[in-house]
């Protein structure tokens, strides 16, 4: 049988961002994949050395448009540990709130894109309609719809009064009702979605562990790995159990994410209820000295920041390992053996964020 190499991406209708996969085909069957990245490299790590460490917070916000708050949170936690600062309790709960808001935003966006990749336009619209409710909450609480810019070194920059907490609660209940009525059931039971995802892109538990999968890709293969278990910000006080599925295929990844959506809404409501009174920001003097590693759970998985400070206003080195970078090797293991027509859905099932990966 003659072998053909088909370029998938960097421009492809299902890919929101440019990644190039060279698919090696035998007839209609994929037998090998070679990824090519480097289309949206922006030199952010170098820029972070040239900026002052406080200006970097806004730069970190811009690494990714979807998990921007968690990027700046990871960075701020790293700087706080280098300077030796204890963040006020109220700020830690607000950090959980905005982290989970980003997660709900990301999951709804991705579920919509996945539905769109299958040609399920009306479900795509429903997901993005729910996402719009999340963006409204973001605009109301943080002042911006996407890049919230509300995390800073020593706490957070915005507080929420009683009235706003009540309004957010009301909107979260409405969001949950919308997800209940028109999103959750469809992703779980719709025959079209099951046919396109069940048994496609299988990654066994052993493979997930060996290849170092993170986030929903690992959890859908039965590996209970979630950085929120480490209890950063206020996750330790809120009590957290990761969502784990054992289906190992694309449908399991969809189920993990729909269940995590409920978990995020629940965590947001609990963090608002349990939030103590007090300050949201403390003054931070001094410069970062030494090196540290800061880890957080992003919507796509674990993000690792390595920070090295030398006691000046500028960092000596900042290295970021984003979750999609860790999930590309598992993607290469999932694809061989699949049909060409399933390749887009499998590629999308790891939720590739290329602007994060290349920074």
């Amino acid at each position: 049988m003659a072998r053909t190499v088909i370029p998938f991406g960097p421009q492809h209708p299902v890919l929101p961002e440019p990644i190039h996969l060279k698919l090696e085909l035998e007839d209609e069957k994929v037998i090998g994949v070679m990824p090519v990245i480097g289309y949206v490299h922006r030199g952010i790590e170098k820029a972070a050395e040239l900026n002052t460490f406080r200006q970097n917070i806004n730069l970190m916000d811009r690494i990714c448009g979807i998990c921007s708050f968690i990027h700046s949170l990871t960075y701020c936690q790293g700087i706080e540990s280098l300077i030796g600062v204890e963040v006020p309790a109220r700020a830690r709960f607000l950090r959980v709130f905005w982290s989970e808001l980003s997660r709900a935003h990301s999951h709804l966006l991705w579920l919509g894109l996945l539905a769109d990749a299958m040609g399920f336009e009306s479900l795509f619209m429903q997901c993005w309609r729910a996402r719009e409710m999340v963006l409204d909450i973001s605009e109301m609480t943080a002042g911006h719809r996407i890049i919230q810019a509300s995390c800073t070194i020593g706490g957070v920059r915005r507080d929420m009064d009683e009235e706003m907490v009540r309004e957010v609660e009301k909107r979260l209940i409405a969001l949950r009702q919308l997800v209940d009525s028109s999103i959750h059931g469809v992703f779980l039971h719709d025959p079209t979605i099951r046919q396109r995802t069940a048994g496609k892109g299988v990654l066994s538990k052993d493979q997930a562990e060996v290849l170092g999968a993170v986030g929903h890709v690992a959890r859908a293969s039965g590996v209970a790995v979630d950085m929120r278990q480490t209890g950063y910000a206020a996750y330790g006080e809120l009590g957290f159990e990761p969502v784990v599925e054992t289906g190992c295929d694309s449908h399991a990844r969809v189920v993990v994410r729909t269940r995590e959506l409920y978990q995020s809404i629940d965590l947001m409501r609990r963090s608002l209820t349990a939030m103590p009174d007090g300050r949201i920001l403390i003054r931070v003097d001094g410069y970062p000295v030494g090196e540290t590693v800061s880890r957080c759970e992003q919507p796509r998985g674990e993000v690792i920041y390595y920070l090295k400070g030398n006691g000046t206003n500028h960092l000596e080195r900042l290295k970021i390992r984003t979750p999609t970078f860790a999930n590309i090797p598992p993607l290469l293991a999932m694809m061989p053996g699949c049909e060409l027509a399933d390749a887009p859905v499998i590629a999308l099932s790891i939720d590739p964020c290329i602007s994060c990966t290349e920074r």
């Binding site: 806004n58 309609r129 409204d136 605009e139 609480t141 002042g143 911006h144 810019a149 920059r157 915005r158």
Partner: protein, 112 residues
Amino acid sequence: MPWMLPTILRNLLSRPVTRRYPFDDVREPFAGYKGRIDFDADRCDLCGDCARVCPSLAIEVTLESRQITYDPFKCIYCATCVEICLPRAIGQDRRYTRPALSKGVETIEVPV
């Protein structure tokens, strides 16, 4: 597909959930929206704190000519300058910045 019928009927008889943009007004931004930056030249003491903290270097303060130059196209509307300004000379309201035909900077003269 009998189970789809109620949804189909409901969708046929209900209004669209989207706004009919040119005919309906767009939603007002929320109260805390970080929109346009306004400088109050009478309050400014030319300390330059805003220029120092600006993450996108959109503000320049020149003490000699008593001028502030502000580039709305570099600005990322993070409100860091609003928070740092001690005399409260920088305000932010919830209007969006309008699109423009050409890029330019705003120059604010600070009276003596």
